[in-house]
């Protein structure tokens, strides 16, 4: 009895109910041991998630780590953090036009694409959500199948088509090409959000005397503002990370940052540090945008159907 009282805290309550028999005492001791073991296990609940997060963050950490190192240190001894931290790599990117132009180009066509996609998708999504017409369900599904083809399939026709119209190496070329993937996505996301708004709100607005455009801008858009945000986010992300089409359609004037990054094997060899800094700067816009839509992102991934 005394031993039991020492070993476990819970043993006290158990002990009071314990009859004097020896059998019951051993049974109780086993129970106490079991409980103790369970308690020890629950003390390591954080272990698996932590390992998982470390695995996830390791490449990103390594990228950041590299971006603050000199090339000598990167290629030299293994070090977990920069011995001589330097921002020289970042300075290269912010001062050399061939680097920062890449970011500007990317941002220009990504923003153009986001604006075009969402503007085009809003009325389309409204039609899918509010009207029944011949083949609407098939058309709606067909939209999504556009996302199922790899971009490489479209690289050749796009290149040939845009050459014919003299659009190669312009921002609008990339923005339009990315619409192929982003308009269907935006339609799907927005349709989900719009279907969550009761049709009676539309009718009440018409009864109140609103014309359709005025109703859409004044009443309807504020109701699906979070959906528009999520749609913008997804368009932004897909356009930002897409490399193949963007690279095919540009040569110098509209060359995206991802294309510049992958062409940095120059005569002077590979500039590891600058490349890492470019990588870090490429992650940042996405992280920033995610921060703004973080509360709606789950609904967005479910295409608004939560």
């Amino acid at each position: 009895m005394a031993r039991l009282e020492e070993t476990t805290a819970d043993g006290r309550t158990l002990m009071r109910q314990t009859p004097a028999s020896a059998e019951a005492q051993t049974a109780n001791a086993t129970l106490a041991r079991k409980m103790r073991r369970r308690g020890e296990e629950s003390r390591f609940w954080w272990l698996v998630p932590t390992i998982y997060i470390i695995f996830l963050m390791l490449p990103i950490y390594w990228l950041v780590n590299m971006s603050f190192k000199t090339n000598q240190e990167i290629l030299g001894a293994f070090s977990l953090w920069p011995r001589n931290p330097t921002i020289a790599n970042y300075m290269v990117i912010f001062t050399d036009p061939s680097w920062y132009k890449g970011y500007i180009n990317s941002i220009i066509y990504v923003v153009m694409n986001t604006v075009i996609s969402v503007t085009v998708a809003l009325p389309a999504a409204y039609a899918f959500s509010r009207y029944r017409f011949l083949g609407d369900k098939h058309l709606f599904f067909w939209l999504l199948t556009n996302r199922m083809a790899p971009p490489a399939v479209f690289a050749l026709p796009f290149f040939q088509l845009y050459s014919a119209f003299g659009l190669i190496d312009t921002h609008i070329a990339v923005a339009l090409a990315h619409c192929l993937f982003n308009v269907p996505l935006a339609v799907w996301i927005l349709e989900g959000f719009m279907s969550g708004v009761p049709k009676e709100i539309d009718e009440t607005a018409y009864i109140d005397g609103y014309s359709f455009p005025r109703f859409f801008l004044r009443i309807f858009m504020p109701l699906i503002a979070s959906g528009i945000g999520v749609a913008c986010f997804f368009c932004f992300m897909f356009s930002w990370v897409e490399l193949l089409i963007a690279r095919t359609l540009t040569t110098t004037a509209a060359k995206p940052i991802a294309a510049i990054m992958t062409r940095t094997v120059s005569a002077s060899g590979l500039d590891w540090g600058v490349l890492a800094a470019a990588g870090v700067l490429t992650i940042l816009p996405g992280a920033l945008v995610i921060w703004f839509v973080r509360n709606y992102i789950a609904k967005g991934f479910a295409l608004g159907r939560v």
Binding site: E203, I207, R214, P222, L223
Partner: protein
Amino acid sequence: MLELRNVTKTVGATEHLRDVSLTLQHGSLNVLLGPTLSGKTSLMRLMAGLDVPTSGSVWFDGKDVTGIPVQKRNVAMVYQQFINYPAMTVYENIASPLRVAGAERAKIDKEVRNAAALLKLTPFLDRTPLSLSGGQQQRTALARAIVKNASLVLLDEPLANLDYKLREELRAELPKIFAATGTIFVYATTEPHEALLLGGNTATLSEGRITQFGPTIDVFRRPNDLVTARTFADPPLNTIVLKKSGSSFLLDGGVSLPVPAELAGIADTSYTIGFQPHHLSLARPSPSAVPVKAKVSVTEITGSESFVHLDFADVRWVMLEHGILVFEPDQTIEVFIDPRHIMVFDANGRSAAPTQMLAA
């Protein structure tokens, strides 16, 4: 004056309304009474101009408005669901029809505050609708209908989702509020007692047809067919098919029910007799009342009233009695049918009463 002329509405293969003709006067209170899916909402949407009839026409003050969109008509509508603009404050919600119409700021403010005071919304004007209770949300929708000062006000079961007390309160006030404006007031409901409490005129709907239209009390007391009588009865109308022989209807068990004097001339054949649950009673209501023996099935007690479900021959009746009644199931009791209050329908379901009586 709103006039529907032979209006039919079909959506796909389903017929929502069949050959509806109806004339509603300015300043009148009109109730559309019918069970769910009887076409009340379809009818209101046609009146509002939200839908276009498949055939037939809608006239307003002598003008054909059949194809005219709802924006160009002066109507207000309140739904059963609480529909407001969630992104606007209550004040802006109520002001919305006036703003669209381009009214002056001072006029808008005055109208909105009047309507808000009328519906006890003044403390909530700066809140958004979704932060209010259901009753307050619905009152916001009603306030929007009031400020619009429309010539046609359509309320589609507006109180169905509200709690009992608020429903009683608003039901009493709504007709008064709108009566003063001289509007055509249309109120859809599934509940017969709501139609009776509102008064005015009632149109009973069944399966997309208007079965009768007239002053509410007349429709209730003298339905011109069985379908109307059934629609206008809650709990359900008690019915039984009987054979008329001479001056009496023959009941099972050798009992006979005297034929009402005004129906003395009808032919000796089978009739459906209908009577309301409160015209079946435990105590003899009049010397002419006929006692019948029926078996108790279930008794529902609501507090001040008891609904006794009875099996008589092969039909199920409901007796509505005041007070709390306790019966054993399967107990046989004696109940009285008052022949002064029976409705007689022929084999086609038409009322057997002479037409001049129906017109009265």
